[in-house]
């Protein structure tokens, strides 16, 4: 695949190296040529000096043939503009824009931009690591707005139905591991001793889930 990365900071350079090691053709763009030093000698791709929304620069990076583009400059505004231009004007099939401001991430997502927010992700990771919890998040969905978590069924729920651990739109049991094998329960399935429960839960509803599990 042909990948364009705008912004050769720590994240841009790291992503460029990762994608290049995976065998993709990578072009990195940055207005500061000294930033290309981060790429190191093993980088096989192209480094282009220039502004990420400069048409000539984008064309030099062959944006019209690109399979993917990541906008990772230090400016949220620039990343949004590059992302919109890449998808709307040049029809790059996969575009991702980094946003530091978590409040913007949601609304720009509604503009059809795939955004990643290290801030949101970092907050949810740090909060998770700081608070001891027998709830293990095994998968973050989005930027951690929803998670798939797992826990052993607590004694108070043994013999109770899945519906008692379900809050519509907030907490859903997606699978139960029983005798070493997972299955997909219905709302009427009863929990047994030793069940490992897999749930999908909104980050905002984590405390509610803890309460249902008797963890608080």
């Amino acid at each position: 695949m042909r990948i364009i990365i705008i912004g050769c900071g720590r994240m841009g350079a790291g992503l460029a190296l990762t994608m290049s090691q995976r065998g993709h053709a990578v072009a990195v763009v940055d207005k500061d040529p000294t930033s290309f030093g981060r790429l190191g000698p093993s980088f096989k791709g192209e480094a282009i000096e220039g502004i990420g929304f400069d048409r000539d620069v984008l064309l030099a990076a062959h944006v019209e043939r690109a399979d993917g583009l990541a906008a990772l400059t230090a400016s949220d505004d620039a990343n949004v503009v590059i992302g919109r231009v890449a998808s709307e004007v040049f029809h790059v099939p996969r575009v991702v824009a980094r946003l530091y401001d978590p409040r913007k991430a949601n609304i720009y997502g509604r503009l059809g931009l795939h955004t990643i927010s290290p801030t949101i992700w970092g907050i949810s990771q740090a909060a998770e690591l700081l608070s001891y919890s027998p709830l293990d998040a095994i998968l973050n969905l989005g930027s951690g707005e929803a998670n798939i978590v797992t826990t052993e069924i607590p004694p108070l729920l043994v013999g109770k139905a899945v519906s008692e651990l379900t809050v519509r739109g907030e907490i859903h049991v997606v699978a139960i591991g029983r005798s070493g094998k997972p299955f997909l329960p219905t709302l009427g399935t009863e929990f047994q001793w030793g069940d490992i429960v897999y749930l999908v839960v909104l980050a905002a509803s984590t405390d509610r889930l803890r309460a249902l599990l008797g963890l608080t």
Partner: protein
């Protein structure tokens, strides 16, 4: 009913535009992100016209009344900021008419309806053509 206009960017262009529109009886809100510029703005414009905040922040735009507005003008000195404003105004808030200032003529190609821009005002081109016109001696 008075036309409602939001101007993002309270620099010289935004301020002059606000004064012009106020004179015509429009209802105007100017959003300025830099606190240092606020006191000057408040001297030049009526106090209720000026709002402090980042015009690329949806919360700020909503507080300024973007949902009931007829026109948004993005007049900051940064093209990428103006384009984020126009994208939000069109695609998140469905504003009917959107005007944007082009600072660097190299960026003019992005100021299209696809980016939410109805009218792009390219200051360098405007100045150049005016000066060229006035330089001709008949």
């Amino acid at each position: 009913m008075a036309m409602k206009v939001i101007i993002v960017g309270g620099g010289k262009v935004g301020t002059s535009l606000a004064l012009l529109l106020l004179e015509k009886g429009y209802s105007v809100k100017v959003i300025e992100a830099e606190r240092e510029k606020l006191s000057r703005l408040q001297q030049d414009l009526p106090a209720d016209v000026v709002a402090l905040g980042n015009g690329t922040d949806p919360v700020v735009l909503e507080a300024a009344g973007i949902l009931g507005v007829d026109v948004v003008a993005a007049t900051t000195g940064q093209d990428e900021t103006n384009l984020v404003v126009t994208n939000l105004a069109r695609f998140a808030f469905n504003v009917a008419r959107i005007v944007a200032r082009v600072n660097n003529p190299k960026n003019a190609w992005m100021f299209t309806p696809m980016m939410g821009v109805d009218v792009a005002v390219n200051q360098a081109d405007l100045m150049a053509s005016l000066i060229a016109k006035e330089s001709v001696i008949e």
